[in-house]
């Protein structure tokens, strides 16, 4: 259990590491080129890992709905945005605002998709996140 907890924390650390490294590549190239290399190198890495472990096409992948295949193009924009932002507002604020956007849109998606949930807890959570964003809101102090 402790081992898995450490792995879960490490996964969060690696999110920052890849954003930091992609940001460094974007400093010398461009956010879009950095996103391209991130995807290509990641593809090679996952392909090798899948070949080593096996089971890449296990299950019923062909039965997936067509829209489930749209994660790639969305990811390209997401990674490019991260590389662009981290050089401008830093790692912590980038992570913080992305988390805020993810949590709030996740609640909205859950409501739209009709996922059951606790409205009170969702409201309190969203309110706390908005309060956190309000505190760093732009234009408060001199630039």
């Amino acid at each position: 259990m402790i081992g898995f907890a450490a792995l879960a924390v490490l996964a969060g650390v690696l999110v920052v590491v890849s954003r930091q490294i992609n940001g460094r590549l974007a400093l010398s190239t461009s956010a879009m080129e950095s996103s391209f290399w991130n995807h290509l190198v990641g593809l090679v890495f996952i392909t090798l890992a899948a070949l080593a472990v096996g089971g890449l096409f296990a299950g019923e992948p062909a039965a997936s709905p067509w829209w489930a295949f749209l994660g790639g193009p969305v990811g390209v924009i997401f990674i490019a945005a991260g590389s662009w932002l981290i050089a401008r507002i830093g790692a912590a604020q980038t992570a913080m605002l992305i988390i805020a956007g993810q949590m709030i849109s996740g609640v909205v998606l859950d409501i739209v998709l009709g996922a059951p949930g606790n409205p009170l807890a969702r409201s309190i959570g969203v309110a706390l996140i908005l309060a956190g964003m309000w505190i760093t809101r732009p234009g408060r102090t001199r630039t």
Partner: protein, 152 residues
């Protein structure tokens, strides 16, 4: 020292978080039909093609003439490892909520450290009191949603 983000930075980062929700939905759906490898392999494949097409059309200028260090091309490995770690912990006693919450903790603490030290050749940035307060509120709100917001 710390500059508050501009409105468009704010909007871009918040919007990127929204994109991340969509990615989780799309890739997570792939994972329910195919393997976890497949759910990460497909977006990396279609993403590489998409980025190549966008590069061909947009032709963004290179920021500097000097070559970036070779390690700067390896961010994708770290991203691929993230997917594998996450799929391992998702199937443990941590489940989805524990995996997300601990991942969040790792992101917040390490991003502060990365700013303070200027890790991987990025600019150093000292977080201010406002940043810490804001981070705490966002983390608190996220934890409430993760642990109490779902169906119980």
């Amino acid at each position: 020292m710390s500059h508050p983000p501009r409105v468009y930075h704010f909007a871009a980062a918040f919007g990127a978080g929204g994109l991340l929700s969509l990615m989780v939905l799309f890739n997570g759906t792939l994972a329910t039909y195919g393997s976890l490898f497949f759910s990460s392999w497909v977006p990396h494949l279609t993403g590489s093609v998409t980025a190549l097409i966008l590069l061909a059309f947009l032709r963004p200028k290179r920021a500097t003439a000097t070559r970036p260090p070779l390690w700067a091309y390896l961010g994708g490995i770290s991203g691929g490892l993230t997917v594998m770690l996450t799929s391992a912990t998702l199937n443990s006693a941590l489940a989805l909520s524990g995996t997300i919450a601990l991942g969040l903790a790792g992101q917040v603490v390490f991003s502060l450290y990365a700013d303070i030290r200027g890790l991987f050749g990025m600019p150093r940035k000292m977080p201010g009191a406002r940043d810490y307060l804001s981070l705490s509120l966002i983390v608190a709100g996220s934890l409430v949603i993760i642990f109490f917001g779902g169906a119980s």
